[in-house]
Amino acid sequence: MMGRYVARRLFLMIPVLLGVSILAFYVSQLLPGDPARAAAGRLATPEQLEAVRERLGLDQPIPVQYGLYIGRLLQGDLGTSLSSKQEVAQELRIFFPATLELLFATMVLTVVLGITIGVRAATSRGGWVDRAFLGFSYLGVGMPVFFLALLLQLVFAGWLRVLPIAGRLSLETVPPPVLTGLYTFDALFAGQWATMMDAGRHLVLPALTLSIAGISEVGRITRSAMLNALEQDYVRTARAKGLSERAVWLRHALPNAMLPTTTVIGLQVAFLLGGTVLIENIFSWGGLGTYAWKGIFRLDIPVIMGITLVSTTAYLFVNLGVDLLYTKLDPRIRYE
């Protein structure tokens, strides 16, 4: 039954991906400028320009071009970047891990701190922890990320000088041998402690910036879900049979409070997937966001298409993952 549900959800992704690819392809066609010229270079003669146009299929009608693109896509070919002449799939393999590492660090902070603070706030309802957190959560949700990023840079890199201001590694640090592309993991596997620490220190400010809003939201929803769970009959039963308050909170209330929390976490991941351009820009991160930014301004249509499809697919899978997680958290939920 579950297998059929997953199969149906995967099947339903096809029209969405098709729609997104058509929209992206059409929008790409509207971009000003001539991709053939961008590919051929400024010094190309008219004949060379025509040759490039023909080779890239740019002389075909747009629906035909789209068809050709999808045909190649199904063979795993995302095309070649017009500006760097590299395969888009290859470039994505370089840029994606950088963004993934940042997202991973952000989500670890969001989930661990958000849930811990939320539970603490709920169990000390009305106490100073609770009040302090509610105050913080208002600030966290309202804070413009780009402004927070600058403030953190100002304080930790400018005044205190305890953390690097930008980049993924210090200039003098050699990147670890590529295994996953995530510097911290690669350095760990290679046993290069100094490199790992350096990569870790570079992660702190961007990950903190990106997670503040998430910590606030996850904390708030965990708090209210915990408070709700603590009023339920099964909690009274658990207390009545003599369990410690701690056991009641962690074993009975918390698992039941995780359902709404999971929804919020899923939304956060989806939101971050599209929202790292800003932060990558400020922290010179060199990931997918940077790649997208450059791709747009160089009218690099294969790059734009590649990023759009990769991030949309990731978004759809995150949504599916959240829905599947529900069934683990609440066995009463079944999908047909």
Binding site: P15, V16, G19, V20, L23, A24, V27, S28, L30, L31, P32, Y138, L139, V141, G142, M143, P144, V145, F146, F147, L150, L151, Q153, L154, G158, S224, P260, T263, L267, L273, G274, G275, V277, L278, N281, G289, A292, W293, I296, F297, L299, I304, I307, T308, S311, T312, Y315, L316, N319
Partner: protein, 283 residues
């Protein structure tokens, strides 16, 4: 959350006061500042906050305080336009979808899915690349991303409301369908839309300011807070005031909207038919 809900709780009042203050700045900035928000005075560039320039001056000697005051208009106008378009489009599509059902509903909701799944910044970047850089283009791009949320909300409300007794009875006494939608269904659907809009307002302001920060929104000399923070970035270490005051203004305005939004949604939850869980279902 709050079971006993007062009509005018302190956080609603505080939120209204904050938004009201910025709205007053947007309507008549001259009341708040006598200085020209575009008056270059290079000899006064980057001077620290003082009695003459409360928030200091920026890189070309313009009074930061007056730019912050005039910037309120840009931000509030963006919120009104974006939410206006998103609600208009979203409510229309959502009503048609929810009311007609069938394959039209399926088609419209798939279209909404496409827009929800589309990477927001790519769309915003592309809109600016196609239509040129500017505030209007950015408003358009943000509105484009926002309507599906309202379409889904209205659709789920309509599905819930059209089965209710008062709609059935209106139909039983022979009211025509258009009248039922206009008189009975829509009014019941609009409350959650207004609450949602008040929750979204701050988020729209943040999104638009982020795009301006990247250089995709309002272009100089139009005063815009996100753009001002970006301009102040290069002076951050020594002349902190250039970026800080516009950043704080945006922050305070967003908090104001959030206070209003949450008070309203708290009030809704105490006496309403459709839960938030249902609204976000199927996202």
């Amino acid at each position: 959350m709050n079971k006993t809900f007062q009509l005018w709780n302190p956080s609603l009042l505080l939120g209204l006061a904050i938004v009201g203050l910025f709205a007053a700045m947007a309507i008549s900035p001259g009341l708040f500042s006598s200085q020209d928000p575009a008056g270059l005075r290079l000899e006064h560039r980057l001077s620290a906050p003082s009695a003459a320039n409360w928030f200091g001056t920026d890189g070309v000697g313009v009074d930061v305080y007056s730019r912050v005051v005039y910037g309120a208009r840009t931000t509030l106008a963006t919120i009104v336009v974006v939410l206006g378009i998103a609600i208009l489009v979203g409510v229309s599509i959502g009503s048609v979808s929810g009311y007609l059902g069938g394959w039209i509903d399926g088609l419209l909701m798939r279209v909404a899915d496409v827009f929800l799944a589309f990477p927001p910044l790519i769309l915003a970047l592309a809109t600016n690349a196609v239509l040129g850089r500017g505030l209007q283009q950015t408003m358009f791009a943000v509105a484009f991303l926002w309507w599906p949320a309202y379409a889904r909300l209205v659709r789920s409300q309509i599905l819930a409301v059209r089965k209710l007794e008062f709609v059935e009875s209106a139909r039983a006494i022979g009211a025509n369908e258009l009248r039922i939608v206009g008189r009975h269904v829509l009014p019941n659907v609009l409350d959650p839309v207004i609450v949602r809009a008040s929750l979204d307002a701050g988020f729209v302001a943040l999104t638009a300011a982020s795009l301006s920060f990247l250089g995709l929104g309002a272009q100089p000399p139009t005063p815009e807070w996100g753009r001002m923070v970006a301009e102040g970035q290069k002076f951050l270490l020594d002349q902190w005031w250039v970026a800080t005051f516009p950043g704080i203004s945006l922050f305070v305005l967003v908090i104001g909207f959030n206070l209003i939004g949450e008070s309203l949604s708290g009030r809704m939850q105490s006496g309403l038919h459709v839960s938030r869980a249902e609204e976000t279902e199927g996202r």
